[in-house]
Symmetry: C2
Subunit: 219 residues, 2 copies
Amino acid sequence: MSSDSSSTRTTRLRQRSQDRRENERKELHRLILDAAAELFAQGGYEGFSLRRVAEHIGYSPGAIYRYFDDKDDLLFNVADEGFKRFQSAQRAAALSSDDLAHSMRAMAAAYVAFGREYPNHYRLMFMERPDLLFQSHQDQAVEWLNALSEYQVIFAAAVQAGVLRQGDSAAMSDTWWAMLHGIVALSITMNFLFDEARTEHLLQTALEMFFRAYGSNAL
Amino acid sequence: MSSDSSSTRTTRLRQRSQDRRENERKELHRLILDAAAELFAQGGYEGFSLRRVAEHIGYSPGAIYRYFDDKDDLLFNVADEGFKRFQSAQRAAALSSDDLAHSMRAMAAAYVAFGREYPNHYRLMFMERPDLLFQSHQDQAVEWLNALSEYQVIFAAAVQAGVLRQGDSAAMSDTWWAMLHGIVALSITMNFLFDEARTEHLLQTALEMFFRAYGSNAL
DNA sequence: TATCGTTGTGAACAGTGTTCATTTAGATTG
DNA sequence: CAATCTAAATGAACACTGTTCACAACGATA
């Protein structure tokens, strides 16, 4: 009994200490990631450096390598969190209305809003280093592709609901994406030309164009 | 007479040697710029370094600073040459037909073709560092803005010619640009998704959308 | 108590842009 | 021709960057 109880006690102790160490690991992992996201959001891709992240959290640069393979690995995690936020905003917009035409407009608005709110994340995800999310981590890449193919599902549903006319729904989806990406990219990159008002006006004009061309009540 | 002739002779000599030195300066300026453009076109923005340019032409890194203020200054000149090419291609497309609808399609095709042919230049000009061309060199910035406003001239002409319906021609121009930029940017950044065929199909679909919505024969 | 394994450090390496004193070489002058 | 002056090119330095690795510290385990 004594040996048995001591055995379980030590087992429990070992378990607890192991858990605690694991938590500490996760905490530092989070600390690094948060600091990285913050510094990245502020300084963008160019001004981002591991040494600054390390200094910001009070560790030596080498310590980061215990938690991330690479600078790219760290950037991937930053981008991935951005994408999760992006995706959830898109989903919320998609579900915001029963009217698919309204949903699509809400999604477009959310798309542009995300780009303008997190320009550096958008840059990283869709402009600078999309390879981070498609090439390096193939498991995540599948998630991304699924998310992107959700657009096609919505377009198919919109066609079936009579909101969009019939046609090449894959091409429609590409056009939709290119249109929104063009607006956001110009707004981010040429922000001295495209202030919020001009961007908003551009978005409305583009949506009008899209639905005038592809809406079911067009010709 | 002898003093006079010798005076003119030395003057001529001085003139010639000065010209030659000036030519040598221009030659090295060109040599650096060409090497930079080549290395940049190959390696893109990230892989581009002054030291590599210097090594490529057989000079020490510091020598470049006799001919360019900065790395940015050198990049500006690379981008500027890209823009001149871009602009001349656009102009040629604009003048390629009397039919403004054809001209616009040709300009769109030339726009996308430029992006796909010189992706790194396009990135630099319109995605990575547009500040190089708008902020730092204000005299050049005016040229750029004029070039961009040429679009609006064409749109106004298209409206007057009855090719496009009347409306907010500035917004139409923005939409046109955003559409083309979106297509090129996606094609460049997501080149593993958008191969040439898909990009071409996307362009045609987008043009169809544009003219369906804004063409004069639309409702 | 001794051993082991993990963690963080600090120094090093190769690379970057940039500056500057110094050499080099060609042009100009006496 | 000799001396001087000027412009160019260099090479070494500085402050950065990402990354690696031997080593020290320290808590967990035996």
